[in-house]
């Protein structure tokens, strides 16, 4: 009922673990696999070991709005990540290796290593600071996005997913620039910040952070809907999915699968099983036998 295929990879259900949440260590990824996730995306891995920013790196927004985070891409570096992947694969569900780099060369190298390690697909995290400019993200530069996607596609034999940023007015243009990718992942976090009034300073050590959780769902659904409309690409939706209806909303907008991150904070590790059964319940009640019947059904023509 919930099976889905994205870029040729078969997932037993469309609920994948989003990059950056409980997916740096193999043991955690195995645990999430066993908790009902249809697939796993690893923490974004770069060329070198990075400690990430100092605390505070996470801010809990009040009233269930979501989270702000500025982890600073901590990761062991690609060379130290071989064992984690090897072990994570024991979880029995597809593992997508997320990578970040400062240019096409880095993305290329990282993709090849990930392929060697045995991941089922690569996810290009195109939302990190752009080394050439300042404060800009790689993901808002069509030329860079195109170059990275095309280079990586040429040199690996596994599917390549491109994860795009919502922090631009050009998301459709960027999606088109990434057209060689096998699937698009929408969206990464939304740029935001919080100030503690009593402390009179920004909360996050890095000042700026990424918004995730319920507050960004309308932005994510819009991005999926818009990009699905304008491209022929397969889409993985992500951003603020908390329950079965949220997942269905992304699917109706055009996503073939979704990713779940912040919901683990709100509902715990059992959230994959729970959302899957919420979806099944709705589908039974509404006499929908296969999730793929719903993909993009909300598009107004």
């Amino acid at each position: 009922m919930l099976e889905t295929v994205v870029s040729g990879i078969r997932f037993s259900n469309p609920l994948l673990l989003a990059s950056g949440i409980m997916d740096e260590t193999a043991d955690s990824m195995i645990r999430i696999s066993k908790s009902g996730a249809g697939g796993i995306v690893t923490k974004s891995i770069g060329m070198e070991e990075r400690e990430g920013y100092e605390n505070p790196v996470v801010y809990e927004l009040p009233n269930g709005l979501g989270l702000l985070n500025a982890m600073g891409l901590p990761n062991p570096g690609i060379e130290n990540y071989k064992n984690e992947i090897k072990n994570a694969l024991k979880g029995g569900v597809p593992v997508i290796g997320s990578i970040f780099g400062k240019d096409a060369g880095e993305f290329l190298y990282l993709s090849k290593r990930m392929e060697d390690y045995g991941v089922h697909a690569i996810e290009l995290n195109l939302s990190c600071p752009h080394a050439k400019g300042y404060g800009m993200e790689i993901g808002v530069d069509e030329n860079l996005v195109e170059e990275i996607v095309n280079e990586v596609k040429k040199s690996v034999n596994i599917p390549v997913w491109a994860k795009l940023t919502p922090n631009t007015h050009k998301i459709v243009d960027i999606a088109k620039a990434a057209e060689k990718a096998d699937a698009l992942v929408l969206i990464n976090t939304v740029r935001g910040m919080a100030i503690d009034v009593d402390a009179r300073v920004p909360v996050l050590k890095n000042v700026y952070g990424g918004l995730s959780g319920p507050c960004i769902k309308p932005i994510g659904v819009r991005a999926v809907y818009e990009v699905y409309r304008e491209t022929q690409k397969e889409i993985v939706g992500v951003g603020g999915i908390l329950n079965g209806r949220d997942a269905l909303e992304y699917i109706m907008a055009g996503a073939k699968a979704v990713q779940i991150g912040t919901a683990i904070y709100y509902r715990g590790v059992g959230v994959f099983h729970e959302i899957a059964s919420e979806m099944r319940e709705w589908m039974k009640k509404n006499k929908v036998s296969k999730i793929k019947e719903l993909v993009g059904i909300a598009q107004v023509r």
Binding site: G20, I21, M22, D23, E24, T25, D27, S28, I30, R31, K43, E49, R50, E51, G52, E54, N55, P56, V57, V58, Y59, E60, L61, P62, L67, N69, M71, P74, N75, P76, G77, N80, N83, E84, D196, D198, A199, R200, V201, V203, G261, T262, I264, Y265, G268
Partner: protein, 261 residues
């Protein structure tokens, strides 16, 4: 969201260890922790060491954040989020409480709630012993150098006491090597055990994977774990994670190396 609390009293507990008292609306269980933010300095996890009307954190000065905290006085403010994590579950029967260093801070509110119990308070030497007068009875001290009570590791004293008494449950907190040893003892002697672990924490809310040990997040699934899980934790006292998430063994872990067992 943080809330701000005011420090109402600062008490010296031992060399480099102070307790900070404050009032707060939260209702923590023994073993739970908070994230303390000192704006523009650092944010770090801290167990609750007093859980009444007047609550307390008992803090050892070891780095940037805790050093700044030691400079704070009555009337100064702390920013908190929490309480977080799972605390101790009280089990039937006589309990042995084994606290090493500031680990005793985590155990103290539990120890106060227990009926039938013995308490071991351990440290390198007498000047590092905390809560010397907090418990009236059944308290045993252990110091590496013998400056107070038993001379030697807490684990040694614990083994002797276990031989002589019928403890049903061990509660422990302290350096991870000590916890590893207590877990091994409990396994061997088939005694129940609960241990509060410390791992490097970033988010404190179970998403960043930095505090994870064998798939268990210390911040959410712990910090207190019971025997079923502890017995299965291969990495306990053997492998850690660097701030980057890189897996490191005991030999590579300099922070841990420094701490006494």
């Amino acid at each position: 969201m943080y809330r701000v609390v005011e420090i109402e009293e600062v008490r010296d507990e031992a060399k480099d260890v102070k307790t900070f008292f404050f009032r707060d609306t939260s209702n923590p269980q023994p073993g739970q922790f908070y994230m303390i933010w000192i704006p523009q300095v650092d944010e770090f996890p801290m167990s609750i060491s007093y859980i009444g009307e007047l609550k307390g954190f008992t803090v050892k000065k070891i780095g940037k954040g805790t050093t700044k905290m030691h400079s704070l006085q009555k009337g100064d403010k702390l920013w908190l989020r929490g309480p977080y994590g799972k605390g101790f579950k009280i089990e039937e029967g006589k309990a042995l409480v084994v606290g090493g260093g500031t680990g005793m801070a985590t155990l103290a509110p539990l120890a106060e709630m227990l009926g039938n119990k013995d308490i071991i308070i351990a440290a390198k030497s007498e000047d590092e012993i905390i809560f010397r007068n907090r418990f009236k009875e059944n308290v045993f001290f252990a110091t590496d150098d013998g400056s107070l009570g038993f001379k030697g590791f807490a684990t040694k004293l614990a083994e002797r006491m276990i031989e002589e008494d019928d403890y049903k449950i061990i509660y422990t907190c302290g350096p991870e090597m000590m916890i590893r040893k207590m877990v091994d003892i409990a396994k061997e002697r088939k005694i129940k055990i609960q241990a509060s672990l410390e791992r490097y924490m970033k988010c404190g809310i179970g998403i960043c994977d930095s505090c994870t040990i064998n798939g268990y997040r210390v911040c959410v699934d712990g910090p207190v774990f019971s025997e079923e899980i502890l017995f299965s934790m291969d990495d306990l006292g053997r492998r850690w994670r660097a701030k980057s998430g890189k897996s490191i063994s005991k030999e590579e872990n300099h922070d841990i190396g420094e701490k006494s067992q």
